[in-house]
């Protein structure tokens, strides 16, 4: 099966600081891929480079065979990559409904399509129903995360990229978020996940990549990494809550 997304040997920098060195990864149709690493390892930078907020200084990125590494974020989301940024970035002054509608900005939609897409999102996140007319800023962290993922899905992406969806959430909410991610994937969505929660990520992912100070140091199937105690311990002991 050909890869949906191919990142080949990219380097990226913020000003003079090189944040990624020679990073490669692939995502196949229908997979959940998790990108692991500690803070500052370059996980978010990788996603930003894929979604076009940042351009690589070396290397290339192709999506469904088309080079996207020089494109703007506006163009990339039109090709079917939705990026749900770290910290959720719900529009604070828009209602839940309006936030969802903004997710359709990557294409021409009819009113009826928008309504049926919102229906579909509310089935995945029933909690959003009663928050429908509330402002984004008034939502709790977990609710904002649901909204941010829902808004990403409103783009009808082929690839959904989630940047640390568990960040700052209560353990019980985190489990719920992971369950939802799994079920979205089972419904056919390809997912590239950035996480620090190693245990839960490896449980739902098919394959994993490990970044350290901007370099890709290991990749394997999630099953293999889960069995590897050395790997888990090396990576932080973040799994204490498991």
């Amino acid at each position: 099966m050909p890869n949906m997304l191919e990142v080949r040997n990219i380097s990226a920098r913020y000003g003079n600081v090189t944040a990624l060195h020679d990073v490669s990864l692939t995502v196949g149709q229908g997979e959940i891929i998790v990108l692991l690493g500690v803070n500052g390892a370059g996980k978010s930078t990788t996603l930003k480079t894929i979604s076009g907020l940042l351009h690589p200084v070396r290397g290339g990125i192709t999506f469904e065979g088309e080079a996207i590494d020089r494109m703007s974020p506006e163009s990339i989301v039109r090709r079917g990559i939705a990026h749900v940024p770290e910290g959720r970035h719900v529009f604070p002054g828009l209602t839940v409904r309006e936030n969802l509608v903004m997710g359709t900005s990557n294409r021409k939609v009819t009113r009826a399509e928008t309504e049926s897409d919102i229906e579909r999102i509310l089935e995945i996140f029933p909690d959003l129903k009663r928050l429908y007319t509330q402002m984004g800023w008034s939502l709790s962290g977990g609710q904002q995360q649901m909204l941010a993922i829902g808004r990403g899905l409103m783009a009808r992406p082929k690839l959904l990229m989630l940047d640390e969806p568990s960040l700052g959430l209560a353990p019980v909410i985190i489990k719920q978020v992971f369950r939802t991610i799994k079920s979205i994937n089972e419904a056919g969505m390809t997912i590239l996940l950035v996480e620090q929660n190693v245990g839960l990520s490896l449980k739902i992912a098919h394959r994993a990549y490990l970044l350290e100070t901007g370099r890709m140091i290991r990749t394997d199937t999630a099953d293999a990494l889960r069995e590897d105690d050395g790997f888990r311990n090396a990576l932080l002991g973040v799994t204490a809550d498991e």
Binding site: G52, E74, H89, G93, M102, N106, A155
Partner: protein, 294 residues
């Protein structure tokens, strides 16, 4: 006495509407791109000169000339941001350079229009021929009523556009979080152009409406801009409602002050109010809550 008060109130609301329109432009641009456009008042002048060309030059009826002059002014505004703002859009800390560039652009625009139209002021006829109409014993200058009605309609339309349409919400989303808006596929550069076009178009409308009351000169924008800026601060810089209420407040204060206190200090009253606000309530009437800014 009471009749005079009514007349002054109508005059004050009319002048205040002009300030409100220009203040709206300040606020829309500021909330969208975090820049204060110091050339905002000059777009009132540009709108008025377009009206001069269309009505006095081409002899078009006002109801064709007015919307056209407004749209043309907005187009100049879109071009303006293309030259001044877009080149430094993605540069961090672009606030100061852009703002200083707008000060320069203000001088430039005034000189260009002085060069084109000459130093002799133009007098635009009012939309209604009559110099005054009598309503219930009160004499009213009809252009004041035109100003109040047209401004009310425009503010209603703007509010509908921003609150009820998807494009309006996309503009708000861009203002709140531009990078995330881009990730949604909202074309941010287009949104910025649109905001500048709307803001300067409203400024142009202000100039078009006030032209029959004053005269059209290259410098007419600066006085209006100064008072509109005061209006925006009094209303709470960043608030649309504030810009309107602030504008009307400044207009009324100026008109009442000029009549009841001293005509020669007419231009001082708005700034006395501004100073009082800066001392006692710097966030203005509708200063935004921190929670909404985060």
């Amino acid at each position: 006495m009471f009749v005079e008060f009514i007349q002054l109130t109508i005059a004050g609301l009319a002048v205040g509407s002009i300030y409100a329109l220009v203040a709206l432009g300040f606020v829309l641009i500021y909330t969208s791109v975090n820049v204060v456009n110091f050339a905002q008042g000059d777009f009132a002048m540009i709108g008025a000169y377009f009206m001069v060309s269309l009505v006095l030059g081409a002899h078009w009826p006002w109801w064709v000339a007015l919307p056209l002059a407004m749209v043309l002014t907005g187009a100049v505004g879109a071009l303006f941001q293309l030259v001044l703002y877009q080149p430094v859009r993605n540069r961090p800390r672009n606030f100061l350079p852009v703002m200083i560039a707008t000060v320069g652009a203000s001088v430039f625009l005034e000189q260009v229009f002085l060069l084109i139209y000459g130093p002799v002021p133009f007098q635009l006829p009012g939309i209604f021929k009559a110099q005054s109409v009598k309503i219930d014993g009160v004499f009213v200058y009809p252009q004041y009523l035109v100003i109040i009605v047209v401004t009310s309609v425009m503010v209603t339309v703007l509010n509908w556009f921003l609150e009820r349409t998807k494009l309006g919400k996309q503009l708000q989303a861009t203002a709140q979080d531009a990078d995330t808006a881009r990730l949604m596929g909202i074309r941010v550069a287009r949104m910025t152009a649109l905001i500048f076009a709307i803001s300067t178009g409203l400024g142009g409308l202000a100039g078009i409406l006030i032209a029959p009351v004053y005269t059209v000169t290259a410098g007419m924008g600066s006085t209006i801009a100064l008072k509109a800026f005061a209006s925006a601060i009094v209303g709470g810089f960043g608030s649309i409602k504030g810009a309107i209420v602030g504008g009307l407040t400044i207009g009324l204060v100026e008109t009442y002050g000029a009549t009841y206190i001293s005509g020669s200090y007419r231009d001082a009253f708005p700034f006395i109010v501004l100073i009082l606000f800066l001392i006692f309530r710097p966030s203005g009437l509708f200063g935004e809550k921190v929670s909404q800014k985060v």
